[in-house]
């Protein structure tokens, strides 16, 4: 056990060190004070993940090997920027609701802890193994780490086309960064970062709902349901991009809502989250564009500022990818294949997918949305969820291997990635404002 524990401790140390820098840098995004403390944990980890990931291309460009000196330099720079551009404390009273039903809130806390423990066991049972981890995310991360560079064959060799050269490099750089910092490629111990993403997401959800006036019970219930949501926090998705993306989408949606409300620091948070989701998965750019359009359409007085914060960083990240790897077409899609029959085939396959339990869960979410109050915060997030669902349902129509194939292969996990955003949207309808 000791060797594995040592490897786990190494990954934990990397996560802790990067999070400390992330916490210091998050001053530029989150106002100080108790109200933001839980959310700041989520932002600290998101910034930490960006630092670990960004360390690799930054060091490659500087011509040095990625390692602790690079992380300390990058982290110190981020912390200094956080201090220099720190967000002032908001004026006015805190909007956090009171204690609520303490017994229920404690029970929710226990369920959250259970959900984290269950995912920890699922994630760490064996080295990361799912198809997309082996073929895409892990392959690229391992290649970057072992080669000490970004080899061209990842993008130019037709035999490697299965690794999807068109996918963003945020997660492979993150894996490579962890490996450089721990001094080895250990795809078992590295799985520890996935429960850390889960914990950060739960802190982000709970903190945002509390700040938006939800009671501890409501915020705790939302966190408890999400913590135990196995379709997202599964052994299969460990190693894939959905869990990191789901944190990014929650941060993006919550900061979009905050920015439209005019909260201090929200525009910076929105801009950062926009870059983060674009660096994680292709649809990140889509969500950034959808957020930009939502802000333009419904953002009232702050529409332009919000729209301008939502998209440019995503475009910068996308441009950096194009400059680095060249223009690579989407491999699985042919956009000339649209037909009503294919749309029907995709929707029918999607309708068969959830089964009795899945449909019951979806109906219960519908009941929760309908029974809750109409809150503007909820509207932005539900809007983003709806855009995501529509895209995930429509994309299979263009799948080269057929609509049913893509629905079966991707829809369950891509839609599960919307769960934190949906939990925040639904929870906000039960806030006391």
């Amino acid at each position: 056990m000791s060797l594995f524990l040592l490897s786990i401790a190494r990954v934990g140390a990397v996560a802790a060190a990067a999070s400390a820098f992330g916490w210091a840098a998050s001053r530029a995004a989150c106002p100080p004070g108790r109200e933001f403390r839980a959310e700041r944990v989520a932002w600290a980890w998101a910034i930490a993940a960006a630092l670990i990931s960004g360390l690799v291309p930054a060091c490659f460009l500087a011509g040095i090997e990625p390692g602790w000196p690079g992380l300390f330099a990058l982290g110190a720079l981020a912390a200094a920027l956080g201090w220099w551009f720190r967000v002032p404390e908001p004026a006015g009273p805190s909007s956090e609701a009171g204690a609520g039903r303490t017994g229920l809130a404690v029970a929710c806390g226990a369920v959250v802890a259970l959900g984290i423990a269950l995912y920890l066991v699922r994630a760490l049972t064996e080295p990361m193994w799912s198809n997309d981890y082996v073929a895409i995310w892990g392959l690229k991360g391992k290649t970057i780490h072992a080669a000490g560079t970004l080899p061209r064959h990842l993008f130019t060799d037709p035999a490697m086309a299965y690794s999807h050269p068109e996918y963003p490099l945020g997660l492979p750089f993150f894996y490579a960064g962890v490996a450089f910092l721990t001094g080895r490629w250990d795809d078992h111990a590295m799985a520890l970062v996935f429960p850390i993403f889960q914990v950060a997401t739960l802190f982000g959800l709970f903190g945002w709902l509390r700040r938006r006036g939800a009671s501890r019970t409501v915020a705790g219930l939302a966190a408890a349901i999400l913590a135990c949501f196995e379709p997202l926090y599964s052994a299969f998705l460990t190693g894939m991009a959905e869990v990191p993306l789901s944190l990014g989408l929650l941060l993006f949606g919550s900061s979009l809502s905050d920015a439209i409300e005019g909260d201090p620091g929200a525009l910076r948070r929105l801009a950062f989250a926009s870059g983060l989701i674009t660096a994680t998965k292709n649809e990140g750019l889509f969500f950034a564009a959808a957020g930009c359009l939502l802000a333009l359409a419904f953002g009232s007085a702050r529409r332009w500022r919000c729209a301008l914060a939502a998209l440019p960083t995503a475009l910068v990240v996308q441009t950096a990818h194009v400059l680095w790897r060249g223009r690579v077409p989407l491999r699985d899609f042919d956009f000339s294949t649209f037909s009503v029959e294919r749309l029907g085939e995709a929707l029918a396959a999607a309708a068969r997918l959830p089964g009795a339990v899945g449909w019951t869960q979806l109906v219960l979410v519908g009941v929760l949305v309908a029974a809750g109050a109409r809150a503007p915060e909820s509207r932005w997030m539900l809007g983003l969820c709806a855009c995501g669902m529509a895209a995930y349902l429509l994309l299979p129509v263009f799948a080269i291997r057929g609509p049913e194939w893509l629905v079966r292969a991707a829809l369950p996990r891509t839609t599960a990635g919307l769960a934190p955003l949906a939990a925040a949207a639904v929870g906000a309808r039960y806030a006391r404002r």
Partner: protein, 140 residues
């Protein structure tokens, strides 16, 4: 009030449902696997895991081949595998950062052929042979 009650009931039912549908039966087995395999080296943990379940002998072959690759190998040509996705993906991952080509007609300079199984194609020079597999280069 009715809406709030419906909300609490809905949330309670949803929580109960996500708890009920947890894969509980696999939990003790996962803990046992974790405790049993943790002292083993990383490759052995992968060997016993889900990612190699489609053909564990194949992973043994890949690990054997990887550990025996001559220094400076630029890429790997893979022979004797079914060529289906799991075989291709796992080989690409194990041999990373070297590119892997499935049964290339000719091996480029600096590439090594990894042959799965006991058959040995003609026109190659065997570098290493361990029965269940071999490493070879083009006879030039």
């Amino acid at each position: 009030m009715i809406r709030r009650a419906a909300g609490i009931a809905g949330a309670g039912a949803l929580l109960a449902l996500v708890l009920i549908v947890q894969p509980w039966p696999e939990l003790p087995q996962r803990v046992r696997v974790l405790v049993r395999t943790a002292p083993l080296e990383l490759a052995r943990r992968r060997l016993g895991g889900s990612g190699t379940a489609f053909d564990r002998e194949y992973f043994v072959f890949l690990e054997n081949a990887r550990r025996r690759l001559p220094a400076g190998t630029r890429g790997v040509g893979l022979y004797g595998t079914p060529g289906t996705e799991p075989y291709t993906y796992l080989a690409g991952y194990v041999f990373a950062p070297r590119p892997v080509h499935l049964a290339p007609g000719a091996l480029p300079e600096g590439w090594v052929g990894a042959i799965y199984g006991t058959a040995r194609p003609p026109g190659v020079r065997i570098l290493q042979d361990w029965g269940a597999g071999a490493l070879a280069v083009e006879s030039r």
